[in-house]
């Protein structure tokens, strides 16, 4: 199977942030340890030296403070790009995101359009201790007024971040921790997405559509690659889980007649449920068989020794593909 050695996700995000900071004086970075240290994952390494402590701000250790003050900064015309240290520590900021950031535009009758980005390192497979391997993107996907992106390559993260700082409403960007420094990833179809908000078809195929996003996209590609001689699978990397690019999904299903959804966030009331429901509503006649979902069951992320049982791996995906197409 072919593999590509591209720039890692962390290096790519760092370069994008630096470039945006260069172009846009109103932009600033805000988060725990993002300055002196460059973030616990070093994604913002070197940026404080380059842009100064006023624009690369080591925030107080309080997530509601990070997002709450960012809302105020956005009201003053700045474009804050916040970092939450780990997905599992997002919760203290949920109130400010859900009841404030997402609603400020409406409350102000459009007079304020806060461009505010919250970057969140996410996901497991890193032998994290409790709370360090979560995937809570579905939580924000339900919130009107918040866009939720889940890039799985540096290229996608670059396009998404450049777009996110311009749209005048909050964007939460989930960055898979286990891809930050990984450079060997399965090759992808080179054709770019139709737009910054569109999904991307990362593997072309005729027998079955697999819709996925985030780090597990790589496992899906591995499985599809491994089965290439038996099944010709098409893989759609959503890149955004809110709003969803249903057009790309439906067009793909129209070609293949089968839909499998794979994600790392737990299954119940998850992103896959929304996709399955929407495809049933709008594309039932396109389907040759039932829509299937592969995602962890509804239980807390386990201690590291057990995470392999929790996460969706290549073998499970392979088995599912075979089950659906035999």
């Amino acid at each position: 199977m072919s593999a590509s050695r591209s720039t890692s996700l962390a290096v790519s995000i760092n370069a994008t942030l630096a470039d945006l900071m260069e172009q846009r004086p109103e932009m600033l970075l805000l988060g725990e340890d993002v300055g002196r240290l460059g973030g616990v994952f070093r994604v913002t390494r070197g940026l404080r030296d380059r842009f100064g402590a006023d624009r690369v701000r080591d925030s107080l250790l309080a997530e509601s403070t990070i997002v709450g003050q960012a809302v105020g900064m956005a009201m003053s015309g700045l474009v804050p790009v916040c970092e939450i240290q780990f997905d599992g520590f997002t919760y203290p900021a949920v109130n400010q995101l859900v009841t404030q950031a997402s609603r400020i535009g409406d409350r102000w009758n459009g007079q304020v359009r806060p461009s505010l980005v919250v970057r969140i390192p996410t996901g497991g497979g890193i032998r994290g201790v409790e709370h360090h391997s979560e995937s809570n993107e579905a939580l924000f996907a339900r919130v009107p007024g918040i866009s939720v992106a889940c890039p799985s390559t540096g290229e996608d993260a670059d396009q998404i971040l450049r777009y996110a700082v311009t749209i005048g409403s909050p964007v939460v960007v989930y960055e898979p921790i286990r891809l930050y420094w990984r450079r060997n990833t399965p090759a992808r179809d080179p054709q770019p997405a139709r737009s910054a908000t569109a999904a991307r078809i990362v593997r072309r195929g005729a027998d079955l559509t697999i819709v996925t996003y985030g780090a597990v996209t790589n496992e899906v590609l591995e499985a599809a690659g491994a089965l290439a001689t038996e099944v010709d699978a098409e893989v759609v990397d959503l890149r955004w889980v809110a709003p969803l690019d249903l057009e790309t999904i439906l067009e793909s299903v129209a070609r293949t007649g089968r839909l499998l959804i794979v994600h790392e966030g737990s299954r119940d009331v998850g992103i896959g449920a929304e996709i399955a429901a929407s495809v049933a509503e709008r594309g039932f006649d396109l389907l040759r068989g039932p829509v299937r979902r592969l995602a962890p069951e509804r239980r807390p992320y386990p201690p590291a020794d057990f995470e392999k049982d929790y996460l969706i791996g290549v073998e499970q995906i392979t088995a599912e593909i075979l089950g659906m197409t035999k």
């Binding site: 403070t65 003050q69 609603r103």
Partner: protein, 284 residues
Amino acid sequence: MLRHMLVARGIDEEAGQLQKQGAIDLWLSCQGHEAAQVGSALAVGPAPTVFPSYREHAVALLRGVAPDELVAQWAGRTFCGWDPRRLRFFPYTLVLAAQTLHGVGYSIGQRLQGREDFVVVYIGDGATSEGDMSEAMNLAAVEAASVLFICQNNGWAISKPAGEQMHTSVADRARGFGIESVRITGQDPEAVFAVCARAAAHVRERQAPFLVEIQVERIHGHSTSDAQELYRSPDDIERARATDPVTAYAARLSGLGLVDADWFHLVGAEIRDLRERLIKEFAG
């Protein structure tokens, strides 16, 4: 000052009436808070940006919010009826204490851009229990943000007495965060004005936050949906009424000969006109 207090009282009474008639959905009265609101708003002047809570009607009117703009959100027409930017009076925030962090962040943002960074944040006694208030005080102290916190302590958070809400005063708590503070009574607008003017000078000169805790009385229930008779003794409600800052200040200025019957007549006519316009807009 008395004129602003009387206007606020008139609008507040009319909004309460309109709610009773079903013309608006809900009203949170500011009666009892007028001296604190008018004194503080005049003391800081027009330059600072105000981050209100949801009961600062006298501040709103003084900043130029028209009565119908003020009432619109309580009649389900909008989430904010006025132009927040132009009036530098930002929208009411109904999630308690959320605005405190916005205020501090706004002040920091303004300072970073070299613009006027003086911000006034209003908060109730009960809302100071929310984590965001503590976070905002800490952030303001650490960042030396030009934020004046004004806590109107009316002794109640709906039915919970302030004495059961906190073990120290809000002013004491502010000092724990490294914010200088003062605690005053809020019956006399001139006293409130003097203290808030000094507090504003502190914020400007030292480029540091300050907190003023103003003890006021809540004359009516928490809102038009609240029956305070269920949890407040008749004596206590009567006591609150008896300390009405509007009637007290009116009597004092009359006694001093600073205002006379003609003046009251003129202001009364102005208020009647405003009330009639409100009726036309919402019950017409």
